[in-house]
């Protein structure tokens, strides 16, 4: 059944490896965690998920899986009463025991028995849903999916159930699986971009070491400059006429993420005005004034705007032209300000290049960007990157 859980995670596109799965099994065998579902959730997470941006995906998958757990084959044996008693004794810390005693140990045992009865009935009714002693992959003694949590909510501890059901990590999820071959190549190009411009420099330590090893004869060593110096700022058009292309953009975005010293991204809609945002769900609440962004990220940032630049010309040229709100200054003014801060900024356009001439707004933005607009193709990407490195 644990195998099924593993496959379930995989099918939900979590990048879990067999090696990590084996670690989880080993940890269960070593009894790192108790048999409560909360502990199992935490243990599985620490073994299998290595990036907090995947926590949310994991929470969803976990919730899904352990809701439907009644149907999963392998959990169809009855649970021995002895086992429950044993588990209960074993998994209570002295503090928990003390607390329980305050509640009334007897009353608790009664409650416990009632539950046990309930489970027997369920079993008799054919709905078998409890792990078995001994053979369950959850370790000796088996496992109750809903978890009879005697120790339960101990002092101030939030239960894990809350964590995965609340999906507290939703906001961290900024990645999209790289699927297409195309994007893999793009990634390689971006990597090359990250390393380009790295010049050889004198390796002082190497030279000294070499010279010393050489018993004092000068031995000059050169090495490539540290390569991951590039800092990138991305502005992504989100929503509206961009929806067709958003997937390509996000793939590009996640492809780029690991390659740079710093990578920041902001969203905008159609054209850039006085503010941008980072979280599309909270775009109205959490805005970042473009002025602040321009101050915060200096001219050493390479700026890439991704958008189809397809809109009414008013949205670029007129104050108040934005479709969303009344902007005091025209989009063109803001774009120009951006270019004053980052003179080499490029614009990547996912629209096919042959259509550009037919769209007035594209022509406008292209002019503002001094022709540094490139199609979102491999060739376009490469030219854009070369431009950025100039």
């Amino acid at each position: 059944m644990l195998i099924d859980f593993f496959l379930h995670l995989k099918s939900k596109k979590l990048p879990v490896s067999t090696r990590e799965f084996l670690t989880l099994l080993e940890a269960l065998k070593e009894r790192v965690a108790s048999n409560s579902i909360d502990d199992f959730y935490f243990l599985a997470r620490t073994c299998l998920v290595k990036d907090e941006t995947h926590y949310d995906k994991f929470d969803q998958a976990f919730g899904e899986y352990f809701k439907g757990v009644q149907q999963v084959p392998g959990l169809d044996a009855d649970i021995p009463e002895e086992w429950l008693k044993m588990m209960m004794k074993k998994h209570l810390t002295p503090e928990e025991k003390a607390k329980l005693e305050k509640l009334g140990w007897d009353k608790l045992m009664e409650e416990f028995k009632k539950r046990l009865e309930e489970q027997k009935e369920r079993h008799a009714g054919g709905s078998k849903w409890i792990g078995t002693g001994g053979s369950s992959p959850f370790g000796h003694g088996g496992y109750h999916p809903e978890g009879i949590r005697i120790g339960g909510k101990s002092a101030g501890n939030r239960t894990a159930i809350k964590v995965w059901e609340n999906r507290e990590y939703r906001n961290l999820d900024d990645t999209v699986e790289l699927g297409t071959r195309n994007i893999k190549i793009a990634l390689r190009r971006l990597r090359r971009f990250a390393r380009e411009g790295a010049e050889d420099e004198l390796d002082l330590d190497g030279t000294i070491t070499g010279t010393a090893r050489n018993a004092g004869w000068l031995d000059i060593k050169m090495r490539p400059e540290r390569h991951n110096k590039v800092k990138v700022l991305l502005f992504l058009d989100i929503g509206g006429s961009m929806d067709d292309h958003i997937k390509v953009c996000e793939e590009l975005f996640s492809a780029a993420k690991s390659e740079f010293k710093h990578l920041e991204y902001f969203y905008f809609h159609n054209c850039i005005y006085d503010y941008v945002w980072k979280d599309n769900r909270r775009r109205h609440g959490e805005r970042f004034p473009l002025w602040d962004v321009m101050h915060k990220y200096g001219e050493d940032y390479k700026v890439v705007v991704v958008g189809d630049a397809t809109m009414s010309p008013y949205e670029i040229l007129q104050p108040g032209g934005s479709v969303e709100y009344s902007n005091e200054e025209a989009g063109a003014t803001w774009l120009q300000r951006m270019l004053d801060t980052w003179p080499r900024a490029v614009w990547l356009n996912p629209e096919p290049e042959r259509l550009w001439d037919y769209r007035h707004s594209i022509e406008l933005i292209r002019t503002i960007f001094n022709s540094r607009m490139y199609p979102l193709t491999l060739a376009g990407l490469e030219t854009a990157m070369r431009q950025l490195n100039k």
Partner: protein
């Protein structure tokens, strides 16, 4: 060996479990989280709680994996040779032991802290894979193999400046310390200021968490800033009422300098307060 938290450190159950998994299965634990969420302190606390030595390796952008094993101090050797020092004949006089070596030769359990691993070059973690897996390495200069008799507990922290290689991640347990919610933060404060007045704490936390919500902040105040601020509030004997105001958004809280350390953030904040006052 089991880590159950300490009197001076608040560990959530999920964090404790991750630590114990790393201890039991003897594999590295990677800890990520915003600055100030207690990553570095965790290693100190784990070592303290288990009563074992802590060996710290603070990573800089120029740190190389080899430095954790050993370095050959060729410069000293060169100098000694010019001075005609006898030492020069034995190369082992110039081998400087790194943190890993020091831990390996303990002969008993220890904790290695590799702090801020993301500061180093992207290749750095990969360069350590083998040594961390096998807990041994070879010293070419002296032709000896250094091997850990007892595997140390390895805690690695990252501020998420760079992503880490997959091969490295697969070998680690991973835990992301979420920024403490109000309840957890209350417990952390309690650890540091057990006698703090409850109403002062409540008002201070309100101000603190509101401040963290201000968009565009370059450096959001973290736990350590809150603690610093509370210390000042207590020292200056600021009453809780001074923090509570109907129009909190229209005044800068007392001693806010302890919370906002970045000048741009102070300006940003003052501007917001100014705007809020005008819109009143």
């Amino acid at each position: 060996m089991r880590f159950e938290g300490t009197d001076s450190y608040v560990a959530t159950p999920d964090l404790m479990l991750a630590v114990n998994a790393a201890i039991t299965l003897q594999r590295p634990l990677l800890i990520k989280g915003e600055p100030g969420t207690g990553k570095t302190m965790l290693a100190e606390e784990v070592a303290g709680a288990l009563g074992v030595p802590l060996l710290q390796w603070h990573i800089k952008s120029t740190t190389k994996a080899q430095q954790g094993l050993y370095e050959y101090d060729a410069v000293s050797r060169l100098r000694d040779s010019q001075l005609g020092d006898e030492k020069v004949k034995d190369i082992s006089n110039y081998i400087v032991k790194g943190v890993l070596w020091q831990a390996f030769e303990q002969g008993k359990p220890s904790v290695i802290l590799i702090d801020e691993v993301d500061k180093a070059d992207i290749e750095f973690p990969n360069d350590l894979l083998r040594e961390l897996d096998r807990m041994e390495f070879h010293v070419y200069e002296t032709r000896e193999t250094v091997r850990a008799a007892v595997r140390p507990i390895v805690i690695i922290t990252s501020n998420n400046e760079k992503e880490l290689p997959d091969a490295f991640l697969r070998r680690c347990f991973f835990h992301y310390i979420k920024f403490p919610d109000k309840e957890t933060m209350g417990r952390i404060v309690d650890v540091h200021f057990p006698k703090l007045k409850q109403n002062l704490l409540r008002e201070a936390m309100e101000v603190f968490f509101e401040l963290r919500e201000v968009p565009g902040m370059k450096k959001k105040p973290s736990t350590s800033e809150l603690l610093d601020w509370l210390k000042l509030l207590v020292a200056e004997d600021i009453p809780p009422e001074a923090l509570r105001s109907k129009d909190r958004k229209t005044v800068v809280p007392p001693l806010a300098g302890a919370l906002l350390k970045n000048e741009q953030d102070v300006h940003l904040f003052e501007r917001l307060v100014f705007m809020a006052r005008q819109n009143r």
